[in-house]
Amino acid sequence: MNKTEYLKRLSDELGHMPYGDVKDIIQSIEEHFDEGLGEGRTEEEIAESLGDPKELAAEFKDGAKFTQIMKKRKRLKDYTGPDGRGRIFVVVFNLFVGIAMWIVLLCAIVAAFCFLAADCGLAGLIIASLIMGKITEFLVPFIFLALTLICIALFLIVLLILGIKYYAKGLKAYIKWNKHVWNYGLGEE
């Protein structure tokens, strides 16, 4: 097996590892080849002494798994109780920014609801008047007005459905983030 074949097999075997990690690994093994070639060894010799690319890939993958587990354990081990600064941050942030922001957004949703209700009411009133023949003048403009109001209503309904969905999602994520900072401080996520 020559250098190209070896690196290709290794990168195939590494498979689902993140691209950056694979690149890093391939680079280090490529470096190994280059050093060996510099010493006058052949590509085949170096590939042979490196060992089976499948086994090597398995060792890299084991190492990655191990690292993940260790990171988790370290976080649990390092956890010495709540971080005071994190708690202060949560309180201050919510006092001045967080809660206010969510209330403003909630107000916007409520306002949109009120607007939708008014819009529907007005549209209904105009349509009813048209049907009952109470409007005799400006018939065409009134029909257009009614159509416009219906369009606005549909638009608002879509906007509200999306708005409420993302509001709920965002609020959930925000509460989770707050909990994390409250418990672990402002470190890595």
Partner: protein, 121 residues
């Protein structure tokens, strides 16, 4: 390398991290050099050192830096960190103690008594 008994390779795997740390204790080094040093002393493939170095780096017991070499591209050097030194010290003692205990058992069954730590070859 292939052809080793499974038990042999399991024991090796557990202790190779420590061996790499011990090699780095003598001074900073790069992958190819470490691979050679390790493979010369223990019967493992040259490639074995790379997953170990990667794992040790992500644990923070070794750090890396690039340094120019006279011929060719810059080499990635590995350096034993303070945390690595602590890990090496504590695990080395543990290993030597363990070897002593194992040797005591093995030797007693043969010669009946003497204990001694033959950690080195």
């Amino acid at each position: 390398m292939k052809g080793d008994l499974p038990m042999n390779s399991q024991i090796k795997k557990g202790i190779l991290d420590l061996c790499v740390l011990a090699l780095l204790e003598k001074g900073d080094s790069y992958g190819y050099d470490l691979a050679g040093s390790l493979a010369r002393k223990v019967e493992v493939a040259d490639g074995t050192v790379y997953p170990i170095l990667r794992k040790l780096a992500s644990e923070g017991v070794v750090s890396t830096y690039l340094q120019e070499s006279q011929n060719g591209p810059p080499r990635k050097y590995y350096h034993l960190t303070e945390a690595g030194r602590r890990k090496l010290d504590s695990e080395r003692d543990e290993w030597i103690k363990f070897c002593g205990e194992v040797n005591a058992i093995l030797e007693r069954s043969e010669t009946g008594g003497e204990t001694g730590g033959k950690a080195d070859e």
